[in-house]
Amino acid sequence: MFATPAAPARLWLRRHGWTAGVWLLLVVLVAWYATLIPKFGSFQVTSIAKNSLPIVFLSIGQAVVVIGGGIDLGVGGMLIMTNAAAAQLMDGQSLGVVLLIAVGVLAATALLNGLVGWIINVSKVPDIVVTLATGFIYSGFALMILPSPGGGTAGGFRYLFTGSDSGIGTNFWPAVVMVTLPTALVAQWLIRTRTGLSIYATGSDRNASFLSGVRTFRAKVVAYAVGGAFAALAGLATTALTGSGDPRFSIGANAMLNSVAAIVLGGIALTGGIGSVVGAVAAAIILFTLNPILTAIGFDPNTSQVIKGGLIVAVMMVAGLLELRRRRRE
């Protein structure tokens, strides 16, 4: 009465094929990049790892929200808001104070975005509309906190994300740890804990979740709070990378668009409940790495952008066709 059990390898591939494929693609791309430039060493690894931190964090946050059945168009606004707040508050402070500020900014943003999740639940306004609005509000806050680019942070704080006090160097360990540790933690939290599973459940089938006693309200609030925390982390990483704050609206808007593209390429369904943070992170790094690769091949940044957009469309079209064929066979 069971469907014939598929071979374990095939089963694994069906479950994790997309994630594995995205990581494989990342490895291939980096290897290709290594052959394109005269010297590929720890400087380049550091550069890729640290510069992809903001988009990686933003994608993790977006991934958690989307897995829970929502979407957060406000992550970009949160990024510039936390970047502005951190740069404004941290300027000239000692490392201890700076770290306290970082924790405070993180917690405050998580709380604020948890409130957004609460509003979505209570108002029954679609996620996309609420977060469109909160995105405006966050961006406004960013400009209020820091009217024009500026501010600063402590060298030690920059080291934490970039591996050097000046933000430029060859020590790739801090950045690599910053990518892998949160990814692993969130991925495990999502599939091992009851709260994490309830986020998957809410996104997969809200009605079945409710019937089996899952607190879908709470799951949504938690997902948005975690999304907020990671958007704040992205803002903090930006502060550490640039050593300053920049409240420009377009930076947030671009980052938000990239986070959505990254999670979709990473195999997370915008309908919720499907996909993994691990794939989204690889896709986020790919989106970043394409820039230096296309530059190395000789494309100017504008052509690179066209190619990137075209690639996203092509991948999504192929995915759409595959899905159509799969449904026909069912």
Binding site: P147, N302, G310, M317
Partner: protein, 328 residues
């Protein structure tokens, strides 16, 4: 339940039904209050001169939001409108030496091409509209940034005709020409949505795509038409913006993307599709226009403006959702 306890929810329901049945009355009230407040803040506002600036801002926004409204009715969205508008403006600026007609037609071609590409991606390949139009936006940014230094190098100033259309006014400089263009677009869209088969299908596909398929409609045809229309309206809006500014640059319409969605949401169009009107969006664009003027008079700056935008969108969306839930 006692009679008194029953009566209150009943009166609430009546109120909700009233709001639901007369959404334009509510929006009109909000608009009137905002205009009055602005008039109090700045005496000169309540004149042709004062109101003209609001309309000059609201007309391109309203036209861009026309496409957004059409797409939201189909449960879609177009995040590439700002770049389509900018691209169309760029082409129109570049072609200005060849005459206004050529400039405008070639500008609209940008909207036609980008909209058709969006429509094929969403309608035929079933790419999520958010992703499709986002990627399109990114492609257009790249294309026009590089073209600005190559094939589109040269004139960035638009001809006098487009300048008049986007920024000029008639009847003793009282009524902006762009208001006239907008009125034409509004008539076309309102009648089109109400009294054509395509209008019916746009609503229907957003309301229940399965039902539409079972009625024999091929969804991709409807979606393709919708995205092409959105592209064309965005392009027209961009050309008006170029006329208003007098010259084009790559940031021309960047700040119109989210307001175009906001105008439709404020006007009562559901992002889930099937419900909404363009007349609502017209009010939405006017409300955002008056807000823009008010905040300028208050010297509030962009920061406050964005927060206010956000609060207005959230507040009205909440009100609509509350009304619908009470109606049940």
């Amino acid at each position: 339940m006692t009679a008194a306890a029953a009566a209150r929810p009943e009166s609430r329901r009546v109120a909700a039904r009233f709001v639901a049945d007369h959404p334009l009355l509510v929006l009109g009230t909000v608009l009137a209050v905002l205009v009055a407040i602005t008039g109090v803040v700045e005496r000169d506002y309540l004149s042709f001169d004062g109101l003209r600036n609001t309309v000059l801002f609201a007309a391109p926004l309203g036209i861009i939001a026309a496409g957004q409204t059409i797409l939201m009715l189909t449960a879609g969205i177009d995040l590439s409108v700002a770049m389509i508008a900018t691209g169309a403006a760029y082409v129109a600026g570049n072609q200005s030496p060849n005459g206004a007609l050529v400039a405008i037609l070639l500008g609209l071609t940008v909207g036609l091409a980008a909209g058709a590409a969006n429509g094929i991606g969403v309608g035929v390949f079933r790419v999520n509209p958010l992703i499709m139009t986002l990627a399109m936006s990114s492609i257009l940014v790249g294309l026009f940034t590089s073209w600005a230094f190559t094939i589109l190098r040269g004139s960035t100033a638009v001809t006098d005709f487009i300048r008049a259309m986007g920024g000029g006014a008639f009847w003793d400089n009282r009524i902006p020409w762009s208001a006239l263009v907008w009125a034409g677009v509004a008539a076309l869209v309102i009648v089109g949505l109400r009294a054509t088969g395509l209008g019916r299908m746009l609503y229907a596909i957003g309301d229940n795509p399965v039902a539409v398929r079972l009625a024999g409609v091929r969804a991709w045809q409807v979606l393709l038409a919708a995205y092409v229309l959105s592209g064309l309206f965005a392009a027209l809006g961009g050309i008006l913006l170029a006329g208003k500014a007098g010259a084009v640059d790559l940031q021309l319409a960047a700040n119109f993307l989210l307001p175009s969605v906001a105008a439709a949401v404020i006007g009562g169009t559901s992002i889930f599709g099937g419900v909404g009107t363009y007349s609502g969006t017209v009010f939405g664009a006017l409300i955002l226009g008056v807000l823009n003027s008010l905040l300028t008079f208050l010297d509030a700056g962009q920061a406050v403006q964005q927060v206010v935008y956000g609060v207005i969108v959230l507040g009205l969306a909440w009100l609509y959702s509350w009304v619908t839930s009470l109606e049940e």
